[in-house]
Assembly symmetry: C2
Homo-oligomer: 694 residues x 2
């Protein structure tokens, strides 16, 4: 038995209480919360009522963030940078709400967002057995993928029909479990308050992911139904004192994605291929948008939101690749994998799990052959523009709609229909000059990535330079007209073909290649998922089910105390104050992005400079947690997550509490600023009372 020789001795195995949790690690499922850890480490009893209240007070922003109800009258708080997209869309050249802020003085002044969907989680149901039963054991990767899509779509459709709730089957533990999440959807969301971007994102890109910080990164919305603010039973009570140093806090939000359960083969791919590619593209966009924004005020307004996203992702990925390139961190993960594989082999009970690692490595290698085309053609990295995205959606809607629900591309299934139409018929402004800029640059990127002699590249360019081709396509397409879109969407494939729209025809030309590449990757992803499921199931048996899965942009609970840290020999304090903001500004001579908004200059005298502004905690968070409420033991709102420090960026791959910290805006700073800087007395009253006056 060759494996035995490689396997560690029993003595060594005794040391392997493998993958023990570190400190306050964990992005916990609401249906598998860390009761024991909280009890043991922090003496806290997690009750069902406490948990349900927090769950139903938590809100997902489908644009990519988190938030919470903070008044019974549907008031929702999130980050300014989560609301930025909405602020941008409702703004104009004259009214730059994103930059200058906004404040509704009455319900009538609250501005409806162009296309924003909020979800509130109502229930979770384990449907693993049914999903697995839907996939024949003998199916190939592609067949299994289709079968799984089909059974998942059926479960979702059935649930939607029965409950009227948005229903999504979520793949957890990389395929180890499938849970059905049901959400209440809200689509009439109105903007109530936003501060100036200058203070929301104080310190800009240079201070992003750094601490100490002084950001009032908040935005308030109100949810409406039938033209009136909704009434919610579950909303968070505002804490009088807010977070204090050393205090245990909880974070309830929607971490987007982590990669902690990936195998070394997958991590190697991320390190050597995917991250370098992504970073190279993000840096390219950073350059492009920064230079274009610099040419005029209006350019800057149009690109601001995209530019923020690009710079934010860039720094996040830089932090991530630093982890991947760190032989110490990767060495630990490699050792853990080796030990677990040895343990699997030794037990003799899990032949599927033993074989899974090589299957994953092979699938990953196969993915590597198709991934670039998926990114360029399907992820639109080579065909970037709103116009192209709309054109493709119209084309595919025409082709997919006639198919049975379970056989459609995921985004065209019944459960996604409402969200799809919300986006497709959005009348948010699309600017042709900006569209041309982005499309031209992405076409140049396409040439670089696939080579100028690639047949598809030549078809896409049609003998023109990227700039000339982009200008011609953007000028020629009609998809920026919402009525035109509706007409084609309703008319279906025949109407789409008859329109002979140049952008839709371009989408048609690449569609075969795009679908083929996507299909190839999806089949391999399915293979990986099956293999990961085998590993996950073996791990449950060997190490218990008291574990959390990788992040999936669904509701999770994290926790940890408010706590400073050491950096380059200095102690970084846990909490900053409003006074610190004025000091940082003076130190940087008030130059952008360290300049204070006029409102803050004017009201300095009125403010209590000792008010806590931002704070750090050891809670386990990642992108997507932006806007997550931070609550105390009593479940009261004590702050709101808005960032992680630079050291937290490796949390993608492994939790750490030595230096990694979650950054929050302190609840007291929100009250102090709303009341004294912005004179928003009604809002302050609503937050403190938990309801509108009246």
């Amino acid at each position: 038995m060759k494996l035995r020789i490689l396997a560690p001795s029993v003595a060594a195995l005794a040391l392997m209480i493998s993958s023990p949790l570190v400190g306050d690690e964990g992005m916990w499922l609401y249906n598998n919360p860390p009761r024991q850890q909280l009890k043991e480490k922090h003496g806290f009893d997690l009750t069902d009522a406490w948990l349900e209240h927090l769950q139903k007070s938590s809100v997902r922003f489908n644009s990519g963030g988190s938030g919470s109800f903070v008044s019974e009258d549907g008031l929702v708080i999130s980050n300014h940078h989560v609301g930025a997209d909405a602020l941008q869309k409702v703004g104009s050249k004259e009214k730059n709400y994103l930059r200058d802020g906004f404040q509704a003085k009455s319900l009538a002044e609250e501005i409806p967002c162009a296309d924003l969907e909020l979800n509130v989680l109502q229930s979770i149901e384990d449907v693993t057995a049914r999903v697995d039963a839907g996939v024949p054991a003998t199916a190939t990767g592609e067949e299994a993928f289709k079968a799984r899509r089909k059974v998942m779509a059926a479960i979702e459709k059935e649930s939607l029909d029965q409950t009227g709730l948005r229903s999504n089957v979520i793949t957890l533990y990389q395929g180890g479990a499938y849970h059905l999440y049901r959400f209440k959807r809200y689509t009439d969301v109105r903007i109530v308050f936003a501060p100036e971007q200058q203070i929301a994102f104080y310190g800009g890109d240079p201070d992003n992911f750094e601490f100490p910080r002084f950001d009032l990164d908040i935005c308030l919305f109100r949810v409406y139904e039938d033209g009136k603010p909704i009434k919610v039973r579950h909303h968070l009570k505002w804490s009088k004192a807010g977070a204090s140093e050393g205090e245990l806090t909880f974070v309830s939000g929607h971490p987007g994605r982590t990669d902690r359960l990936l195998t070394m083969a997958e991590l190697g791919y991320l390190r050597d291929v995917q991250y370098p590619y992504t970073l190279s593209r993000l840096r390219r966009l950073d350059s492009l948008l920064t230079a274009w924004s610099g040419r005029s005020e209006e350019n800057a307004r149009r690109a601001k939101e995209d530019l923020f996203g690009v710079q934010n992702s860039r720094k996040a990925r830089e932090g991530g690749i630093a982890g991947l390139q760190d032989p110490v961190l990767m060495g630990k993960k490699a050792a853990a994998e080796q030990q677990f594989r040895a343990r699997l082999a030794l037990s003799g009970e899990f032949p599927d799990a033993v074989a899974a690692y090589d299957r994953i490595a092979a699938a990953q290698a196969e993915i590597g052959k198709h991934a670039l085309r998926v990114r360029l053609l399907e992820g639109e990295h080579g065909l970037a523009s709103e116009s192209f995205a709309i054109a493709r959606t119209l084309l595919r809607a025409g082709d997919e709609s006639p198919k049975p629900n379970g056989e459609r591309l995921k985004e065209f299934t019944d459960s996604e229909k409402e969200s799809l139409e919300l986006g497709l018929f959005s009348d948010k402004p699309i600017h042709p000059d900006y569209e041309t800029l982005r499309l031209a640059d992405s076409l140049a990127f396409l040439i670089e990535q696939l080579g100028s002699s690639d047949a598809l590249v030549q078809q896409v360019l049609a003998g023109k330079s990227p700039r000339a081709r982009a200008a011609e396509l953007i000028a020629g397409t009609r998809v920026r007209d919402v009525a035109f879109r509706k007409q084609l969407y309703i008319g279906g494939a025949a109407a789409v073909a008859a329109a002979k729209d140049p952008m839709i025809e371009l989408a048609r030309r690449v569609d075969g290649d795009a679908r083929a590449a996507r299909k190839a990757v999806e089949a391999q992803d399915e293979t990986k998922q099956q293999a990961q499921a085998a590993i996950a199931k073996a791990r449950f048996k060997l190490e218990g089910t008291d574990r959390y899965p990788d992040a999936t942009f669904t509701l999770r609970l994290a926790y940890g105390p408010v706590k400073g840290y050491e950096e380059d020999g200095r102690t970084v304090p846990a909490i900053t104050t409003i006074g610190g903001l004025y000091q940082r500004s003076a130190e940087m001579k008030d130059k952008p992005p360290f300049d204070l908004p006029p409102s803050w200059v004017k009201k300095k005298g009125a403010l209590d400079l000792g008010t806590p502004f931002n704070f750090v905690s050891t809670a386990d968070i990642i992108g997507g947690n932006s806007g997550s409420p931070v609550v105390n033991r009593a479940g009261e709102f004590v702050g709101i997550i808005f960032d992680g420090n630079i050291q937290s960026l490796v949390l993608d791959f492994a939790y750490d509490d030595v230096q990694a910290r979650a950054l929050s805006v302190h609840s007291s700073a929100i009250i102090e600023a709303l009341g004294k800087v912005y004179g928003a007395k009604d809002l302050v009253r609503e937050l403190q009372a938990g309801k509108r006056k009246g």
Copy 2:
């Protein structure tokens, strides 16, 4: 005869007066000037005296730019961005000359530059026959490279010994000719005047390579010998009126590099491999330095010069790749190559030239296998920092010095000795934090490019993360101490080895790989050069010698009228005014980089707002021409080149005068600003009189 079948008919050949010059095309050699073109197109008689005066008034900045003498007392004018490196090096945290400007009120106040070498061309001698005779016809690529290096070094050494002048054999027409250039060297160069960077680079990166512009991109230096200003016979007289629209102007400067004579195989490599690589690296550095600069004022000061260079190169390369990716431009070049190859084949006289194209393609493919390692290890893209560069120079100086002059690496030959030592013993400040930042980032880049499992990468990192390894190396090395460098340089290889300096030992570890990759590429370059030489010689015979070679950072003459152009349907006027500066600032709400320096705000009332500020002409220029004097028919100074517009960036591959324009600061703006904004009366008098008062 198969080739005959493929060859065009005689009738078609008659149309092939191939590669005719376009408009005012040409970066002409001073020993082969465009007399006939100037006579025919502009009725201008180019005399030897006129040419010699301009030649000896022209100055090369070895840091990478051009300039000219503008007073008999050694006063030299160049661009602010050419002087930036010098300004940065003599500045400090307290005295930020680069940002805030500088003005010497007397000779005593003029500040010596840390290590700046100026060259003035004295003579050119054709040594093609001797160089070619030194290379045996039967030599392999590597042997031929060595033989050519040897004969070139011998010619240079002989010339240096005989004349005491810096002597360089320059390869022209990609090997079609070799000319010996002799320069007078000046190393005691002092800073006389620089405006604020805000006005020198008004509009910053967003307006860079754009027109209309409003930049006072000038810097004044004075050349000293034996502690006194030199006296020069040749210096440019200042024009009373300056350049006017439609007027013929001449540009005398040092274009760095063009690629107009490259074959399609070489251009394809640039398009598909080299430009994408370079751009990806430049965007990476742009992100890194921008983010770091944003964290503090002092960071910004330390990185400013590098950041400018990176952003400037990035935009230039973006313009270049736009040309390479343009099927129209590339199609023309491909057709021209095909025609010339057909003509060669048809003539039957040039078998070497006929075969040359395939040899070049093969050599280029071979270069592609080694180029990445050359860039990373030899070009230091994977080991960036001043400390590493110094460490390697010390290591190699020790190894190379004992060898015969002709066998050394080029930069260690006798003719380069003085320049090498000037750089090596420079006491310009080197900041460990900035060094660590750059080295860490370049190590991460090295991992990305070669892969983390590469043996050399693992040796370089020594089991640490890029950040940790960089911190350890920068903290541990002693090479930032100039005395230490001198000691090791004098002590030679034994002293270098005994020092056991960690950075030098790192340089030693990569030296074998770096040298091997460099050698492989140099051998293929030699093969290409021989093939190019065969093409060039055939071209001389078939099309005459009235041609100019690609740019080589040696003195060239270009010409063209002051002339506006059309862009997106608008007419761009040829000349801007000082009044336009104030308009642009108002339009951009005076926000950086469009904010006016306080000096310009204060003196607005005193200025004649109608004074010409910047202007454009059709002269054929490229990077390296920065600071080139622009003169009129009388040889008088009417302006100074500081940029090209975005459309000029394809000049790397082909001349164009439809939209491509050279950008200059107008001589009148210089006088107006010096006199009225900066109160530099003595300087104004010196420029107008051509000598210091006294």
